[in-house]
């Protein structure tokens, strides 16, 4: 399994809006976590995809993207932000389960 860690500093998440901006910039693919999520999933899972599958790219690799929230000790005290984060990750994973049969994102608090 190929794992890549992308970090968001916990103290940079001021509110739901800054969380959206931080997520949006995380994969260098604007809109990846919202309006362009299907396109992003297809892009990073060529060959695995059950819907737009291209046989030439069949692989044993299973890419997993880790989103690490560093310095996350204060996040538990901000339920709206935490709920928004969980909601976004869950939406992407639900979509990737539908398209490739497994989740793509792993949320890590450190």
């Amino acid at each position: 399994m190929l794992k890549e860690k992308r970090q968001i500093p916990g103290d940079a998440i001021k509110n739901e809006q800054t969380l959206e901006e931080l997520l949006n910039n995380l994969m260098n693919f604007p809109g990846w976590h919202r309006e362009r999520s299907t396109e992003w999933i297809d892009m990073v899972t060529l060959g695995e995809n059950l819907i737009t599958q291209i046989p030439h790219f069949q692989t044993t690799d299973e890419d997993l993207f880790i989103i690490e929230i560093t310095g996350s000790h204060g996040l538990a005290d901000r339920p709206p932000v935490l709920a928004q984060l969980v909601r976004r990750v869950r939406e992407i994973n639900q979509q990737s389960v539908e398209r490739i049969g497994r989740p793509l994102l792993l949320l890590l608090f450190s």
Binding site: L2, K3, E4, M27, N28, F29, R36, E39, W40, D42, M43, V44, L46, G47, T52, I54, P55, H56, F57, Q58, T59, T60, D61, D63, L64, F65
Partner: protein, 269 residues
């Protein structure tokens, strides 16, 4: 022990696979004298075909021969894919093909150098990439009707976790009905340096070897079924391949270029 027997014995182990990569100069000279050696500085006279790693965004015409090109400059060639920067992913296979009935009786030693003229990145629009590939296959059209070979894939899509990963083509699943997949075997930093690839293929011992920049890599003897329309002849192919980046729903997408030079293909009997 004659050289062929040594190569076969050596190929039976992982250490032996490394030995396969050390080509004795007297054997090279012999192959050349027997007219079983092909080489060049560029890929002039190689064939160019659209491969199966293709995709067209909604509303885009399917990928066609016009979407790929291979240009020759004397000291190197340039493989190009998605030359019109359409909303497609184009697959350029540039290959040298020899139709020889007893091609499976030889050990095949293949090599060339390759270079990216740019570094793919998430901020690059004019040029970006999905893969580079090198391959050697023999289509046994007159007997088993299977394609035997060895292949390498270098992942160049900068949005993928596997950016820079090297993969090799393997069989998995039921040996009677194997599936073909790419398996990661290492990493090659994505840069604009010249790199070398060596492929060794021995059908008789079902053995392969591969080296990048002189470093031995894991490789696999693979068996691939093909469409019933493939010919009834025995055809050996040595190829370089590129695939342009997946376009998503974009009506325009970057093109991809790879330079190749100094190729050699020896047949050892």
């Amino acid at each position: 022990m004659i050289r062929r027997e040594f190569l076969r014995a050596a190929g039976a182990s992982a250490i032996g696979a490394m030995a396969l990569l050390h080509w004795p100069e007297e054997q090279v000279a012999h192959a050349a004298a027997e007219n079983l050696s092909y080489q060049g500085t560029d890929l002039n006279n190689w064939l160019v075909a659209v491969g199966d790693g293709v995709f067209a965004a909604e509303g885009e015409a399917p990928v066609a021969q016009d979407d790929i090109a291979t240009l020759h400059f004397g000291d190197h060639s340039e493989l190009r894919a998605n030359v019109h920067q359409r909303g497609i992913m184009a697959h350029n296979i540039t290959y040298n093909q020899q139709t020889v009935p007893d091609a499976l009786d030889y050990i095949h030693l293949c090599e060339f150098s390759f270079r990216l003229p740019y570094v793919p990145s998430t901020s690059s629009w004019e040029q970006n990439a999905q893969t580079f590939e090198a391959s050697f296959f023999i289509w046994d059209g007159s007997n088993t009707r299977l394609d035997y070979g060895i292949a390498l894939q270098w992942i160049l899509n900068p949005w993928m976790n596997s950016f820079g990963k090297i993969r090799t083509w393997v069989n998995v699943g039921d040996p009677a009905q194997p599936r073909n997949v790419w398996k990661s075997i290492g990493q090659l930093n994505v840069d604009t340096n010249w790199h070398t690839i060596k492929l060794v293929f021995d059908y008789q011992f079902q053995t392969t070897a591969m080296a990048i920049d002189g470093n031995h890599c894991l490789s696999s003897f693979s068996t691939t079924p093909k469409a019933g329309t493939w010919s009834g002849e025995t055809v050996a192919r040595f190829g370089a391949e590129i695939i342009s980046i997946f376009p998503g729903s974009n009506p325009n997408a970057p093109s991809h270029t790879m330079e190749v030079r100094d190729w050699r293909w020896l047949w050892i009997q």
